[in-house]
Symmetry: none
Subunit: 202 residues, 4 copies
Amino acid sequence: MKSDDVAAPRHRGNRHGRSEQARLAVLEAADDLLVEKGFAGVTVEAIAASAGVAKQTIYRWWSTKTDILLDAFLQDAAEDLVVPDHGDLGPDLRDYLRRLTHFLTRSDAGAVLRALLGHAQHDPGFAAVLRTRFLDEQHDRDRLAIERAVHRGQLPADLDVAAEVDQLVGPIYYRVLVTGSPVDEQFTDRLVGTFLRRVDGS
Amino acid sequence: MKSDDVAAPRHRGNRHGRSEQARLAVLEAADDLLVEKGFAGVTVEAIAASAGVAKQTIYRWWSTKTDILLDAFLQDAAEDLVVPDHGDLGPDLRDYLRRLTHFLTRSDAGAVLRALLGHAQHDPGFAAVLRTRFLDEQHDRDRLAIERAVHRGQLPADLDVAAEVDQLVGPIYYRVLVTGSPVDEQFTDRLVGTFLRRVDGS
Amino acid sequence: MKSDDVAAPRHRGNRHGRSEQARLAVLEAADDLLVEKGFAGVTVEAIAASAGVAKQTIYRWWSTKTDILLDAFLQDAAEDLVVPDHGDLGPDLRDYLRRLTHFLTRSDAGAVLRALLGHAQHDPGFAAVLRTRFLDEQHDRDRLAIERAVHRGQLPADLDVAAEVDQLVGPIYYRVLVTGSPVDEQFTDRLVGTFLRRVDGS
Amino acid sequence: MKSDDVAAPRHRGNRHGRSEQARLAVLEAADDLLVEKGFAGVTVEAIAASAGVAKQTIYRWWSTKTDILLDAFLQDAAEDLVVPDHGDLGPDLRDYLRRLTHFLTRSDAGAVLRALLGHAQHDPGFAAVLRTRFLDEQHDRDRLAIERAVHRGQLPADLDVAAEVDQLVGPIYYRVLVTGSPVDEQFTDRLVGTFLRRVDGS
DNA sequence: CCCTAATCGAGACGGTACGTCGTGTCTTTCG
DNA sequence: CGAAAGACACGACGTACCGTCTCGATTAGGG
């Protein structure tokens, strides 16, 4: 069970701690560079220059630029994807999928995530890290509304939640990452409608 | 009197047209490098060296390494995704989704496509090219089984085929590109089952 | 046949050889940097920048900055140390030692040589290279006046020329490299006087 | 080589004055590094690590690594170059030049001195310091035997001692620093012989 | 039947960014 | 307050690829 850590630890096992100021400057610089210049514009040298930090300071704490972007992403992304709780499955899902879509397509953090997912296709090691540090947790969030409904008895207890969730969010990611076709509310609401009819009928 | 060369003399350029030999060597080298060393191992210099070709010959015909990979991919990929035609929607879809999954997760061409989709996240221009040169056509293939069923009167004519297709293949791409969780036949068959119940009911 | 063949191949860097233009720019830049900013100012990056050349072009042809300086030195140094030939030992030696002193203490090439000799104290491998590529030849020049006198019968044939030469030039190098005290004509003439009395007496 | 470290309680600072233990550890580490890894191996970081001392402790007391080496050198070198006093000029000089040669070519301290002389060629400021802190004193030692002879009336009082000394030791330094040719007793004795004949005759 | 033009191999070039090393300064913690 | 620990900004290192640029050889077609 994970409990919320109070604050980032000031000391890292050493006698002294790293510079929080440098850490934040790096993360913000990486974020900004990605949004402004795209993935190719995110170079360690550009981050260092733009953060007013020495390259060695970056390499002391991160091993690759995607490592930096991941940290930057995690710092911002947490609060953007709060799962709503109206006490009713339909509104919860409709709301959540709209938020997810907005996050993926409109927010800066979403742009970072798309870049990271892109890089994960090129680097299996990073893919694993990305899953451990974000996607697993995100998957839990994706399930939350449905699991609450199961808890309330609104849905059968033996529902294969994982598969259902993938049918809900999969098409959204597919349009965002693959086809590039727009994801409007009609589309997400339709996904929810299909799902509700599917689980009601069964 | 002709001298018998043991090895066939290498094509060394001619006035009209490019060397097919060089073209194929480049495509194959790019493909091999991706499969063996990953995306980072695909460099123009490595392709040139491994294909026994001059860098300039590459730059004469392609502008980027992803351009090469896309060409290589298109050369192989076409036949791997033939849409089956059993005359019945259910078997057609089940068969096709299995093939698609196998293509995405098991084949070398699928590995190349995943790399290209990854790169498309970093380069909107390339994303557009990828859509024009492959994904649009692929989308048509994805629709084919359903459209044939519409033609046969098995499905209503006003069906929103695009949205339906995305609900069918979206979850597969999502698992492949995002979660990395396995896509087995149970999962694809379930997608088809859900779809058939959905369209029968409506 | 005319001897007026234009034998100045203007290579710009191609399959048939390196760029003479780049080579000269590098040597001159290294030389200038040494004279203007001292040995610490001679960095590969500064040479590259000041020569308008890529670092890799430098590393393609030289392995260390002292390698460059040695090349630069050899290019200039040759003509500065011509051995005079008045047909008489005394004037020859007096003249030569004055020239040597001027070379070591006043010329840019001398400054480079002092730097190279300094580096040779830190790097035995380079010391060996320096000997092979310059000092051996220089030693021959140092002996030349005396050997001519031996040839003329002015000096005994069994003279230990090497030891005599070291007694002539050694004190000059010593003052230049170690004590830093000035080397005037009185000092060099005295060395010659001592030598002549020594070999006449014996 | 580092002596076997007994786990003695390390000095950790006190209110009055610097740590003699740290000072000696630094000097010894610098010396050892020079002898074992050459001049390039002498870095402040390596000295600090190998002496078990913080970098700041080094910078508190020395300004450059050559400063450290000079201190280390002065600590050892003094006793190696005692001027003999047999009461006779010839034996004194012969003995002294042999000792000087041995010091320059065979001893660890000589290796340090050669490195320092090398560095002096790259850094005029350091050259001045080296003269002030060692070479002037050494020059006095070089003169001592001769001056004693002048005192005894063995040599004329108006002898230009400085010039004579340079003719004696110059060739030795020249061979050591420049040509790298061996300096044997025959060579040093010959220098003395030449000198004695020269001053006797005059 | 040479002449010409396109293409080939080879590889040097000016660059950008990489990841590492050493410098000298600074801050924190301990005794 | 000196010393150990070590993070920091800075600058240079030497390497890997990038995309461009000759060069000489090769080989059709057209003159």
